[in-house]
């Protein structure tokens, strides 16, 4: 059950894709287009939030080209609050039963997102931090629903090259072809140079890390098969797996290891929007 929302006084909508550094909340994934069967967002707050009634402060609306509200999407969220240990990151799920094609809620109520339509996820300024202060200033993320994605990520098709990040520093990019679930990417991907693990940043369909020296002969990427894309398809299995029609489907359980070549070239898509932290020794 959700309380009436009070967004009427919202005076400022901050498009986080533009202004993520200054916002009191960042919303991942940092992309404007998601598959229509997109599953979840990560809300990163500057400080711990009050918990227990978070869904009073969240809503999803369909908007037109000029950003005007057309309709509020009913019951879009799986209303379970999932926080990290610092209570600054909340995982916000769309209801999987509505996003999974062919299952009952998807059929009865319909999907949450429809391909070709534009939506805005809004966070009420009335939501308080643990210290009792309101977030202040309404926050929102606009997304466009693209074609549903039922394909599993295929790391063997990934490429790499040198690039430049938002600080202007040289980074090595890994092009993943599609946008991965950013938290899953952080948890399920490891990058090694000469045995040392590299810290990396995730934006859109790229991973980026600062190499320990200007020229790198090679690097190794180890991918846990639980790595997911935005629609919950993992390297191990598609999200929407019908075991009745695929009774012999075998999930991949062993990691994927990629060894990138000795000569890394400059990427064609060489700009990385984030500011990548250097590896701390």
């Amino acid at each position: 059950m959700r309380l009436p929302l009070h967004f009427a006084l919202a005076v400022l909508l901050v498009n986080l894709a533009v202004c993520e550094e200054e916002a009191s909340v960042r919303i991942e994934p940092y992309v404007e287009k998601v598959p229509a069967n997109h599953l979840k967002f990560y809300l990163h707050f500057a400080e711990p939030m009050e918990r227990g009634d978070a869904f009073r402060f969240l809503r999803l609306i369909e908007i037109n080209d000029s950003g005007k509200e057309l309709v509020e999407v009913p019951e879009p969220f799986r209303e379970v609050e999932l926080w990290d240990e610092t209570f600054t990151r909340m995982t916000l799920w769309f209801h999987p039963g509505r996003q999974k094609p062919g299952v009952n809620l998807n059929v009865e109520i319909g999907p949450i997102l429809e391909e070709g339509k534009t939506y805005r996820l809004e966070i009420s300024p009335d939501w308080k931090t643990e210290s009792g202060a309101k977030l202040g200033g309404a926050l929102a993320k606009t997304i466009e629903a693209a074609e549903p994605d039922s394909e599993q990520p295929d790391p063997t098709a990934w490429g790499s090259g040198y690039g430049i990040d938002a600080r202007g520093q040289s980074v090595i990019l890994i092009h993943t072809g599609e946008t991965l679930d950013p938290e899953s990417a952080r948890r399920r991907i490891q990058i090694f140079i000469e045995g040392k693990a590299m810290e990396f940043d995730v934006r859109s369909n790229q991973l980026a890390f600062v190499p320990p020296q200007k020229k790198v002969d090679s690097f190794r990427v180890v991918i846990d098969p639980r790595l997911e894309d935005l629609a919950g398809n993992s390297v191990a299995r598609p999200f929407n797996l019908d075991l009745d029609s695929n009774p012999n489907f075998q999930e991949r359980t062993d990691p994927v290891e990629l060894l990138f070549p000795r000569k890394i070239k400059f990427s064609e898509d060489s700009k990385f929007p984030g500011k990548v932290e250097k590896k701390k020794n």
């Binding site: 999932l82 926080w83 009952n104 919950g232």
Partner: protein
Amino acid sequence: MKTLSLFLAVGLTVGFANADSGSHLKDAQTGGLELKSVGKISFGTGGLLLISDPGSASVVAVETGDTGPLVKLAKRIDNIEGALAEACEAENVLIVDMAVNPASGTTWFSVNQRPGNKPAILALSGDGKFSVPDLSGRSYVRMNLPSAENAKLRNVTDLAWGGDSVIVAGQSSEEFANKIFQIPTPLEHGENARFASAETYHVAHRRWETKAPIQSFIPWEEDGKHFVVGAFACTPIAKFPLEKIETGNKIKGTSVVELGSGNRPRDMFIYEKDGEEWLVTNTQRFKKNLFGPSKFWAARVKLEYLEVNDDEDTNENAARRNVNAPSGPDAKGMEVVEELFGAVLVSQLENAEVVVMRETDPEKADAMHAVELVTLP
């Protein structure tokens, strides 16, 4: 002969006879109990309170000393949030969970105090008095929920005393994944749980769902075998053999009942009335409830539905609730429980007597809730 018994009911009988819950704890720490957060709570025997602390991915078992005598809640408490806030001197509180202690009749609450989010454990005794139990000097153990992955499961969807173990259902914050943990007695500090992922046939979805989290469960025994009977969103009820839990493996459940799509289970329990045993699940509908005054409603299912094991009666062939027959012969033993409309939280005191926290105004989600003792038909 088939024998059915509810672990909890058996445990409570033992608990009344033996109030020394200390026998369940090993190398317990006395004093210094601090909670980073509070989630689901549940009682074991002899006043042993289980508290999930999702912020630290752990479950605390604390000897409350609340061992009786039994005093049942005498009158309905309106505005339970206001009364609890006054008790802990907060502006207001947000109730996370509620558990009645069958040994004493005292109803315990896990709450977040506002402003801020300071966790607290509060109590309402049968005579209507509120208190902030001082657990600081009580013996306790903190049981960390292990993970073979590189992150902890932080969201405990339910936990229960299982007679000779504590059973915990959890889900991942980042991925659509579930785990069932079993922590053997004696309970002690550290990581002692074994765990498995549950794989369930979702009757309404007509497919196997290997990742959906168990929302609520009860421990259950059938023919000497121990099971978890779990309820999932949308709303299959399935049983999982506890003996199959081995760390890291998957256990396949047997779906036995389908209550209807669009529901999220909240609590489960079993009671007996007039020679018939019933499994009750109170749930929250995702959408408007067309057959009652509230999104919060409950169904009771004849326990014989849990006994089925044959392919002809399980999984894709599991019995479905007749959504057009809330009661009567056409309901075929799967009935709507009128007394539990509006029930947000339900905790079993003694057989058909349950403490219910319910809505006072289904049209206003910010309306305060009421708590009362209800006897089920």
